[in-house]
C-alpha cells in the first residue's frame, strides 16, 4: 500500500504539471508533494523494520530497507530541489529568459525524472530497473539542454549518447543474469517472470553459473557505472551537471548517480554469492581508483563552480565504489550513509551555486570574489557546504568516509586507502584555494569599484537559504548522532552484504 502511495504521489505531480501551467501555487504544491514523499519514505522504512520487505501490485514492486533508504534520499533531495525550483522559475520568468511554456515543460520533466528514479528503486525486477534508468536519461536530456545554447546542446547530446550506450551495456549485463537464471530453471517468458526478480536471483545465486555472472557483472559495472559517473565513461557528467539548471544539477548529482550505483550494489550482492567477493572487489577497486585519479587531475584545472562540483561528484562516486569494494556490512552501511550525505551536501552546493548565478550573475570562479563580505549568508552556506563536502567533522561525510576507510583497511586494502588519501589531500588543497578566492578573495581597488557597482541589489532569497541552512544542520546532525538512521543503514547493508 505504501509503495503504491509512493508511486502515486509523483504520478499526481506529473498529472498536475501536465494539466496546469506553472505558477507559484503549483510549484509549492509540488514541493509539498515531494516533502510528503520523504515522509512516506520514512514511514516505509519503519514499516519494513517491523514487518519485513513489502510488495505491491502482484510483486511487480518490492521494497526492502535498502529501497526505503533510497526513497528517503530521493524524497529529501527532491524536496530541496523543488523548493529552489520555485525561486528559479520566478527569476527565469522575471528576467524573460524563459517563457512560461518552457518553465512548465521544465517542471513536468523534473517530476517525470523524480518518478523514474522512484520507479527504479522500488522495482522488483532487474529488467524494470533497467527500463527506469534508461527513462531517467530520456527525461533529463532536455533538462540538461534547457538553455538551448551551444554549450547546453552539446552537453545534452553528449549526455544522451554516452548514457544510452552505457545503459545499453547494462542491458547486456542484465541479459546475462537472466540467461544464467533461466538456466537454473527460473521460469521464462511468462507474463511476469520470476527469474528476473531480485529476490529470486539472491535466493538462487549460489546456483548461477559463475562465468556467465562474471561477464554479466562486468557489463553491469561498465553500464551503470557510466550513469554513476565512474570511469571510463564519465565524461558526460561534468558537462551535463554544469549545463543543467541548478535544481536539476542538484537532483542529478544528489540522487540520479547514486540510484545507478544502488543498482550496481544489488547486482554486486548476487555476484558476490555466485562468484565470490574478490571478483567484484577487484573490479570496483580498479574502477574506483581510476575515477578518483581522473577526478583529481581534472578538478585542478576547473574554472567554474558547477563544473568543479561535478568533478567532485565523480570523486565521491569513486570513494563509494572503493567503500563498496570492501564489502563488509559496516562498509556498505557507510557507503549508504555517504550516498545520503553526499546527496544532501551536493544538492545544497548546487542550489547555492544556482542562487549565486541569480544574485551574482556568474558561477565562474574568477568572477566571484569576497562573497562572504557582501553576501554573508549565501557565502557562509557555500563555504560550510564545501567544508562538509571535503569531509570535515562534524558533517556526515566525515563519518562515512572514516567508516569506509576503516573497513577497507580491515579487509586488507590499506594501499587503496593510502592512494585515496593522497588524492583527496590534493583535492582538498585545490578546493580550499578556490573557496578562499570565492569567499574572501582580496579584490584590487579597481575591481572593488566594479563589484560594488555590479553588486546588484538582488538579495539571496530566504526561500533558498533557510532550507539550505537546515540541510547543513541536518547533515551535521547525521554526522554526530546517527540514531535513528543506524538501524536502517545496518539493515539496508544486510541486504547487500548478506
Amino acid at each position: 500500500m505504501l509503495i503504491d502511495l509512493i508511486l502515486i504521489l509523483p504520478l499526481t505531480s506529473i498529472l498536475l504539471s501536465l494539466l496546469f501551467r506553472w505558477s507559484v501555487v503549483l510549484g509549492a504544491t509540488l514541493a509539498f508533494f515531494n516533502l510528503a514523499l520523504l515522509i512516506f519514505g520514512i514511514v516505509l522504512a519503519f514499516n519494513i523494520e517491523t514487518t519485513g520487505p513489502v510488495t505491491a501490485i502482484d510483486a511487480t514492486f518490492y521494497a526492502d530497507s535498502l529501497s526505503s533508504f533510497m526513497v528517503i534520499v530521493i524524497g529529501l533531495i527532491s524536496f530541496l530541489s523543488s523548493l529552489f525550483s520555485i525561486r528559479f522559475s520566478i527569476k527565469e520568468l522575471a528576467k524573460n529568459q524563459s517563457t512560461l511554456l518552457e518553465i512548465s515543460r521544465y517542471t513536468l520533466l523534473t517530476q517525470i525524472f523524480i518518478f523514474t528514479m522512484l520507479f527504479a528503486v522500488v522495482s522488483s525486477s532487474v529488467a524494470m530497473i533497467w527500463v527506469a534508468v534508461e527513462a531517467t536519461t530520456i527525461a533529463t536530456t532536455f533538462l540538461v539542454g534547457f538553455r538551448k545554447n551551444k554549450k547546453a546542446l552539446e552537453a545534452s547530446w553528449k549526455y544522451i549518447i554516452i548514457c544510452s550506450v552505457g545503459v545499453g551495456l547494462a542491458f547486456v549485463g542484465t541479459l546475462f543474469f537472466y540467461f544464467a537464471s533461466a538456466h537454473i530453471g527460473g521460469p521464462i517468458s511468462s507474463s511476469r517472470p520470476v527469474s528476473l526478480d531480485w529476490t529470486f536471483l539472491i535466493k538462487n545465486s549460489k546456483k548461477l553459473n559463475p562465468q556467465i555472472i562474471k561477464f554479466g557483472f562486468g557489463f553491469i559495472l561498465l553500464g551503470y557505472g557510466t550513469k554513476t559517473g565512474l570511469a571510463p565513461m564519465h565524461s558526460w557528467l561534468p558537462d551535463a551537471h554544469s549545463q543543467a539548471p541548478a535544481p536539476v544539477s542538484a537532483l542529478m548529482s544528489g540522487v540520479l548517480i547514486t540510484v545507478a550505483f544502488y543498482t550496481i550494489l544489488r547486482f554486486k550482492a548476487i555476484t558476490d554469492i555466485a562468484v565470490g567477493r574478490w571478483f567484484s572487489q577487484d573490479l570496483l577497486i580498479a574502477v574506483g581508483l581510476l575515477s578518483l585519479l581522473l577526478a583529481t587531475s581534472l578538478l585542478i584545472t576547473q574554472k567554474e563552480i558547477k563544473r568543479m562540483l561535478a568533478y567532485h561528484s565523480i570523486e565521491h562516486m569513486a570513494l563509494i565504489a572503493l567503500g563498496a569494494a570492501a564489502g563488509s556490512e559496516i562498509a556498505i552501511a557507510a557507503v549508504l550513509l555517504h550516498i545520503l550525505g553526499h546527496g544532501l551536501v551536493k544538492a545544497i552546493l548546487f542550489i547555492a551555486s544556482g542562487e549565486m548565478l541569480i544574485t551574482e550573475g556568474s558561477t565562474e570562479i574568477a568572477k566571484l570574489k569576497s562573497l562572504l563580505t557582501h553576501k554573508p549568508l549565501l557565502g557562509g552556506i557555500f563555504g560550510v557546504g564545501l567544508l562538509a563536502l571535503l569531509g570535515l567533522p562534524p558533517f556526515s561525510l566525515f563519518t562515512s568516509e572514516f567508516a569506509m576507510m576503516k573497513s577497507e583497511i580491515s579487509v586488507g586494502l590499506g594501499w587503496v586507502v593510502g592512494i585515496s588519501l593522497v588524492l583527496m589531500a590534493v583535492i582538498f588543497g585545490v578546493v580550499v584555494s578556490h573557496a578562499r578566492h570565492i569567499l574572501v578573495g582580496e579584490s584590487s581597488g579597481r575591481q572593488t569599484l566594479k563589484t560594488s557597482k555590479l553588486s546588484n541589489p538582488i538579495r539571496a532569497s530566504r526561500l533558498t537559504t533557510t532550507p539550505l541552512v537546515l540541510g547543513l544542520i541536518l547533515s551535521a546532525a547525521i554526522g554526530v548522532v546517527s540514531w535513528p538512521l543506524q538501524t536502517l543503514l545496518l539493515s539496508a547493508a544486510k541486504v547487500i552484504s548478506g
Binding site: S125, A127, M128, W130, V131, E134, A135, T137, I138, T141, F142, G145, K148, N149, K150, K151, L153, E154, A155, S156, W157, K158, I160, I161, S164, V165, G168, F171, V172, L175, F176, Y178, F179, A180, A182, H183, I188, S189, S190, S191, R192, P193, L196, N209, Q211, I212, F215, P238, D239, S242, Q243, L298, T301
Partner: protein
C-alpha cells in the same frame, strides 16, 4: 521445421551484421540509412522466426514490433533529419575506412573467442549465434565514436541497440513482453529525443560537425 526456422534465424542474423558493416563501410548517407533500414528489417525477421520456432507469441510480437520500429520508423525519422540538413552527403570518418574494416574483422573475431566460449552458450544453435550480436554492437559503437556527424551518430546508436536486441532474441528467446515493450519504448524515445535535439542543434547552431562542438572539452 525447426531446422528451417533456424536457417532463417542464421541467415538473417548474418544479414544484421553485414548491414551494420555496410553502414560502416559506405560514406554516402543515403546508402547508410538504407542499410540501417534493411538491418532493422532483418532483425525483426530474426525475432519473428525465433518466435515461431519456439512457439513463443511474445517473441513473435517483439519481432513484428522490431520490424516496424527499426525497419520502418527509425529510417524515416533519420531521413527527415537528413532532408532537413540537406547537402551533407559524405561523411569523413576520423579513422579511414580501410583501417576500420580491419578493426571490424577484429570485432567479429573477438566475441567468438570470448563470449562464444562461455558455458551454456554453445549448448543451443541459437545461442551460438550470440557473438554475432556482440559484433554488431561493437560495429555500432565504433561508428558512434569515429563519426562526427549527427546522423551517423544516431545511426551508430541504433546499430548498437539493434546488436543488443539481437543478443536478447538469440540468448534467451527474448524477454518477457512487458520488458520487451519497455525496452523498445525506451529506444524509440531515445531516437525521438535525439531527433528533436538534432533539429534544435541544426536550427540554433547551423549544420555543424559535432567535432566542432568541443567547448566543454577538458
Amino acid at each position: 521445421m525447426t531446422t528451417n526456422y533456424f536457417s532463417m534465424t542464421y541467415l538473417f542474423s548474418g544479414t544484421v551484421l553485414v548491414c551494420a558493416i555496410i553502414a560502416l563501410w559506405r560514406k554516402d548517407i543515403k546508402a547508410i540509412i538504407y542499410s540501417v533500414a534493411f538491418h532493422g528489417v532483418a532483425l525483426g525477421i530474426v525475432g519473428f522466426s525465433e518466435g515461431l520456432s519456439r512457439h513463443d507469441l511474445a517473441l513473435v510480437q517483439a519481432g513484428i514490433e522490431t520490424f516496424i520500429l527499426k525497419g520502418i520508423v527509425f529510417p524515416i525519422l533519420i531521413f527527415r533529419i537528413f532532408n532537413r540538413s540537406g547537402g551533407q552527403r559524405d561523411v569523413e570518418p576520423l579513422i579511414n575506412t580501410t583501417a576500420s574494416m580491419l578493426y571490424t574483422s577484429l570485432f567479429i573475431g573477438i566475441p567468438f573467442f570470448s563470449i562464444g566460449r562461455l558455458p551454456y552458450i554453445a549448448s543451443s544453435p541459437q545461442s551460438k549465434l550470440v557473438p554475432i550480436g556482440f559484433a554488431t554492437l561493437l560495429v555500432g559503437f565504433y561508428i558512434l565514436i569515429t563519426r562526427r556527424r549527427i546522423i551517423s551518430q544516431i545511426v551508430g546508436l541504433i546499430i548498437f541497440e539493434n546488436g543488443i536486441s539481437l543478443i536478447a532474441f538469440l540468448l534467451i528467446s527474448g524477454l518477457p513482453l512487458l520488458v520487451e515493450l519497455g525496452e523498445s519504448l525506451d529506444v524509440l524515445l531515445v531516437v525521438i529525443v535525439l531527433r528533436v535535439l538534432a533539429i534544435t542543434i541544426q536550427s540554433r547552431i547551423g549544420n555543424v560537425d559535432l567535432a566542432e562542438m568541443k567547448e566543454l572539452h577538458d
